[in-house]
């Protein structure tokens, strides 16, 4: 037994614990415990009333047994009895037991709540604290219902003791986190903010946590806390190391409070008041300066506390992202830490620099540390530190250093821990694609990935390389050659066979001239891998073979022989058997022309966000891809790209039929005129085939094909057919928007990224992000032909009054766009006041001597400047009532155009920009949202309510805003989305 005999030694308990410790085996322990349980049960059931001390002792024993990991199903009532004891220790043990072994028995809860209520009313601060601790520890909804209304009162009461205020603040925080709806906002909130001024440091420490949490949900209501927090912080930062007495920790004044205050400030943008801002910047500079001073103590606690404040300061500087000077200083400070002898500091510096890398002010400064980071990746002994280094390299990568970073990551991959290989593979694949200047480098990189870590190369990665090769004819020959060489290796990964099979099936003809890679050589090379491969790969190879028959008629006999072999025609696997039968029939029935049409080269894939990026984000959780793509995004990422992302279920199941033929996809849009009836013939061939199996319809496993978006419908005003005059039209002379411009615009009301327009010549992709009343949009113009576009000039036009409502700044783009190339145009957008019509985008260029022009609506709608606003039901209804003038409301009742899926609706509403408020509408089927439209001149508060009626397949949408035209406009925009 230890020498401690503080307070009450419960001898029986100590003996019991000793016994348990002396048990030689698990069985002995269980036996001893069962004996004790039987003893306690009999005591509790016995006739003799137990005195408080014994009750306490037995309850404590039960607690010990429970904490050892055994189930306890009795004793709750005795514990509850202890709560009403007037002896402190008995009460204390009772509360501890209740906190640890929460029981949902309602009768019991009633008794517990009663006891708590009594203690809260007792005016005895120690009892009140015990009761508050218990509420905070349990934190259940029932507790919230019983006490959420009382605690704010205790918190701000003038006569509450400091210790009670502290417990009340954190108790309320816990209840608010668990069930925010139960905590009524009110007059007390203003007084809570003033706790930041409290004389007692402990009260401030507890209160800041509560205020920070409340701020996040109601930023406007707590705005005043910013200046209070700044002045409190400033007093702490400038105090001498001993001023704060017991709140100084190893010569650092109030480190916990400082960190919490800095955290609180991160809920808000930089202070607008110049004096407050000046004071804050001074604080931040002081912290950065102090980091350079010699330490006041050699203890690690001193440096940890000091650096905790320093890192939180840097977080705030990054959060503001507006002070280039501070950002660079922060970066330099982190740079010092990168080489620190403390592993912890190196880890944190790498982590923190990751966020710094995405700021335009400090990106360059971060890049100067590349060698140190690469070195960390190579030499750190701790895998979690290496992981941070890999993350940072990913974040700091741009066009200038992509080759170096990718090659270092590839090298690291060879020895990387298994746990992080897949992630590194994804990162390499993304960087290689994003920063590829010449695509042969990209192809090399991906093939290297497969070679080094084939098992970790997911479908997304190898699908992507195929998409890119298919879309870029300048790299196809190189890809065919490289993959052919890679397949020569005696043992190559199955993923390599898949990529090789696909690429040679499409582009094998490009290397067929070389006798070393003649058609028969290509075929036998692929076929030598066939028997070692999985069903999925073999299916893919069969498709390659039929493509070979078209590309290289001389291989027809050999390949037909392979297809005809019993091992194929009678294969136990339905998919393989079906392919063999169908392909064999196709090759013997169809004429060369028909074959050429059916087996036409795959059409280019529509441009879209890389599915790899999406996968990385899924893997790492939100924010993972932030360095690459920090635009405000629709939460349902697969919706952004028009549903072309593979769903998680198709990702996890390997696709057994990655089909080369695209039989189930729409016909290639650019196919040469086919002999009449070719399409029908295709169907006929299959339906007449005696062995054809049912089940040709799309199956959910066809991840590869189902990823394909059907090509955009051809525009009736196709550019090619436009017999425009030879002279270019003047800049003022802009044609009307194309007929489907509105429809295209509608696609972007609830999302920011995607393909805006596509025809045979040109593809226009959009990526945009909006913050407050500002926006930035990237337009990507892709030349889909192999001929250069000349005099290429996209311009943005503001019809009517729009000039005064919306400012759009465009950067010029090169006037030539090479065949197959893509140019990017950046637009800076500022919303000056509310507007109703979008700006127009006019694109003009010359293609093969003929002038082309096209006018579209730029996807900038008023809802892009939404800032979501969270609010409680009470506030919502109050505001709703305030906007009750008839002209402030717009309502629409309309038929559903899409399936009525609650999740999809939610995603759309979030994409629209408003916050979704739960627990406001009494009918849970309905959606309620709130937001503020930010313009330079004014803010427009908006409330919306959407009521689906599944039976009638109808919706009713109601908008209320402070400005009449805005209500109507938003209502119209949104109504078209469902």
């Amino acid at each position: 037994m230890p020498a401690v005999s503080k307070g009450d030694g419960m001898r029986g308990l100590a003996v019991f614990i000793s016994d348990i410790r002396n048990c030689k085996s698990k069985e002995a322990e269980i036996k001893r415990i069962n004996k004790e349980l039987a003893n306690i049960r009999s005591k509790f059931k016995g006739d003799k009333a137990l005195d408080g001390y014994s009750k306490k002792k037995y309850v404590c024993k039960l607690l010990f047994i429970f904490l050892l990991g055994h189930d306890i199903d009795f004793g709750h009532m005795e514990a509850v009895n202890l709560l009403s004891s007037n002896k402190y220790t008995e009460k204390q043990i009772g509360y501890l037991f209740i906190s640890v072994l929460v029981n949902s028995n309602s009768e019991l809860i009633r008794l517990i709540n009663n006891a708590i209520k009594n203690d809260l009313a007792s005016r005895n601060p120690t009892f009140m604290c015990l009761a508050l601790h218990c509420i905070a520890n349990v934190g259940s909804r029932e507790m919230g219902e019983a006490f959420a209304a009382d605690i704010p009162r205790i918190l701000v009461a003038g006569d509450s003791m400091d210790s009670v205020k502290q417990s009340a603040a954190l108790c309320l925080l816990r209840l608010y986190k668990a069930s925010p709806d139960l905590v009524p906002m009110g007059e007390w909130t203003a007084r809570v903010v003033h706790l930041l001024n409290d004389q007692h440091m402990g009260v401030v420490t507890a209160a800041v946590s509560l205020i920070t949490c409340l701020c996040k949900k109601n930023p406007d209501d707590f705005k005043t806390c910013v200046s209070l927090a700044v002045s409190r912080l400033s007093r702490i930062v400038s105090s001498a190391s001993t001023d704060l007495q017991d709140y100084t920790y190893y010569f650092v004044p109030a480190p916990w409070l400082s960190v919490k205050l800095l955290r609180l400030l991160q809920c808000y943008p930089p202070p607008e008041d110049a004096a407050v801002k000046g004071r804050l910047v001074e604080c931040l500079e002081t912290v950065l300066n102090k980091a350079q001073e010699p330490p006041k103590s050699k203890k690690v606690q001193h440096s940890n506390a000091k650096n905790a404040i320093l890192f939180e300061t840097i977080s705030l500087i990054i959060h503001y992202d507006s002070e280039p000077n501070l950002l660079v200083r922060a970066c330099n400070q982190l740079g010092q830490f990168l080489q620190h002898r403390e592993t912890n500091l190196r880890y944190l510096a790498l982590e923190s620099m990751c966020t710094l890398a995405s700021s335009e002010f400090s990106h360059e400064a971060v890049k100067t540390h590349i060698d140190t980071v690469i070195n960390a990746l190579k030499t750190e002994r701790d895998v979690s530190v290496r992981q941070r280094a890999a993350d940072l390299l990913y974040a700091m990568c741009d066009r200038s250093n992509a080759k170096q970073i990718v090659s270092e990551m590839l090298r690291y991959l060879e020895t990387a821990d298994y746990a992080i290989r897949e992630e590194i593979v994804l990162k390499v694949a993304i960087l290689a694609e994003k920063y590829a200047v010449d695509y042969s480098w990209y192809v090399d990189t991906i093939l290297n990935l497969i070679r080094i870590a084939g098992d970790y190369v997911s479908e997304e990665v190898w699908y992507r390389v195929l998409q890119i090769v298919t879309n870029r004819d300048d790299v196809q020959g190189y890809a065919a050659k490289t993959v052919f060489e890679a397949l020569q290796a005696p043992a190559c990964h199955e993923n390599m066979v898949k990529v090789g099979g696909y690429i040679l099936g499409e582009f094998g003809n490009l290397i067929a001239g070389d006798p070393r890679s003649s058609p028969p050589v290509q075929f036998s090379l692929l076929h030598s891998k066939f028997h070692l491969c999985s069903v999925a790969t073999r299916a893919l190879l069969l498709s390659t073979y039929i493509k070979f028959i078209n590309l290289f008629p001389e291989t027809k006999a050999t390949i037909q022989g392979v297809l005809r072999a019993g091992s194929q025609l009678r294969n136990a696997d339905v998919e393989l058997q079906q392919r063999a039968v169908e392909y064999l029939t196709l090759s013997s029935v169809a004429s060369t022309d028909v074959l050429a049409t059916v087996l036409e080269e795959m059409p280019p894939f529509p441009e879209r966000e890389s599915s790899i990026l999406a996968k990385l984000k899924r893997k790492k959780g939100p924010g993972a891809g932030s360095a690459l793509d920090d635009s405000r995004r629709d939460p349902s990422s697969h919706d952004i790209n028009g549903g072309v992302e593979p769903t998680p279920s198709t990702v996890s199941t390997p696709s057994p039929s990655a089909d080369l033929l695209g039989l189930r996809a729409a016909p290639p849009p650019a196919a040469p005129p086919a002999p009449s009836g070719a399409g029908n013939l295709l169907v006929d061939v299959f339906s007449d085939s005696p062995a054809a199996q049912p089940g040709l319809g799309p199956s959910p496993e066809e991840a590869f094909l189902s990823e394909l978006e059907p090509p955009a419908p051809e525009s009736p005003m196709a550019l090619l057919a436009d017999p425009a005059p030879a002279a270019d039209p003047g800049p003022e002379d802009i044609g009307p928007p194309i007929p489907e411009a509105d429809e295209l615009l509608n696609k972007f009301v609830c999302r920011n990224n995607g393909v805006l327009f596509e025809n045979q010549l040109l593809q226009i992709g959009v990526k945009s992000e909006f913050r407050q009343n500002l926006g930035r949009m990237y337009l990507f113009y892709g030349n889909k032909t192999s001929v250069q576009f000349q005099n290429f000039s996209p311009t943005v036009v503001h019809p009517g009054d729009l000039q005064t409502q919306l400012a759009v700044q465009t950067k010029r783009v090169a006037s030539q766009v090479d065949g197959g190339a893509q140019v990017q145009q950046v637009l800076n957008i500022e919303c000056l006041r509310d507007f109703l019509t979008p700006p127009l985008l006019s694109v003009r260029f010359r293609y093969g001597g003929a002038p082309q022009s096209l006018t579209l609506k730029l996807p900038v709608t008023i809802n892009k400047f939404f800032q979501p606003t969270e609010m409680a039901a009470q506030d919502f209804f109050q505001r709703w009532k305030q906007l009750s003038l008839p002209q402030q409301e717009a309502q629409k009742i309309f038929k559903a155009n899409h399936p009525m899926d609650a999740e999809v609706t939610k995603a759309k509403l979030l994409g629209f920009g408003s916050a979704l408020l739960d627990n406001v509408d009494p009918n849970p089927e309905n959606f309620v949202g709130a937001g503020i439209i930010q313009t330079k001149a004014l803010q427009v508060g908006c409330l919306l309510r959407l009521e689906p009626n599944a039976q009638a397949q109808m919706y009713r949408l109601t908008l209320r805003t402070s400005k009449e035209p805005v209500s109507r406009h938003l209502c119209e925009l949104l109504a078209q989305q469902f």
Binding site: V4, K87, G139
Partner: protein, 158 residues
């Protein structure tokens, strides 16, 4: 903070404090996984690691590991010092605390923790104030114990 665990080098759990609602089953699973992960790490490694979507901050004091799970935006270094301050509080209360003190007086360890951290947030950082609260309670209880014992003493005399 989402939870704090104290466990020995042998992997025996000595204290567990949960600040988020979880079922007993989940708690056991998390404990098992984390104890294993942390014990597998070598001495000079960094005190932080990513685990699921949380950050783990841990430190070893003699035979005991103190391990906290914090959220993404929480500060790792200050959490490390939360652990240290808690160890200091235990040390001051028990007088050079050792693992056995925490085993035999587990309820005290919980009481001290409640005075220091509540709902996963730091409530009071002053060592004096925390211990004052606990000692006041001890005083209170000694008074009541004395009453109790004197009464039962009387009974025995009969």
């Amino acid at each position: 903070m989402q939870f704090m665990l104290l466990f020995s080098r042998q992997g025996k759990l000595r204290l567990q404090k949960w600040y988020v609602p979880l079922s007993d089953k989940e708690k056991k699973k998390i404990t098992r996984e984390l104890v294993q992960t942390v014990l597998a790490r070598k001495p000079k490694m960094c005190s932080f690691l990513e685990w699921r979507d949380l950050k783990i901050v841990y430190k070893r004091y003699a035979s005991l590991y103190f391990c906290c799970a914090i959220e993404d935006q929480d500060n790792e270094l200050i959490t490390l010092e939360i652990i240290h301050r808690y160890v200091e509080l235990l040390d001051k209360y028990f007088g050079s605390v050792c693992e056995l003190d925490i085993i035999f007086n587990f309820e005290k360890a919980y009481f001290i923790l409640d005075e220091f951290l509540l709902g996963g947030e730091v409530q009071e950082t002053s060592k004096k104030n925390v211990l004052k609260a606990i000692e006041q309670a001890d005083l209170l209880q000694e008074k009541t114990e004395n009453m109790f014992y004197s009464k039962s003493g009387c009974k025995k005399a009969y």
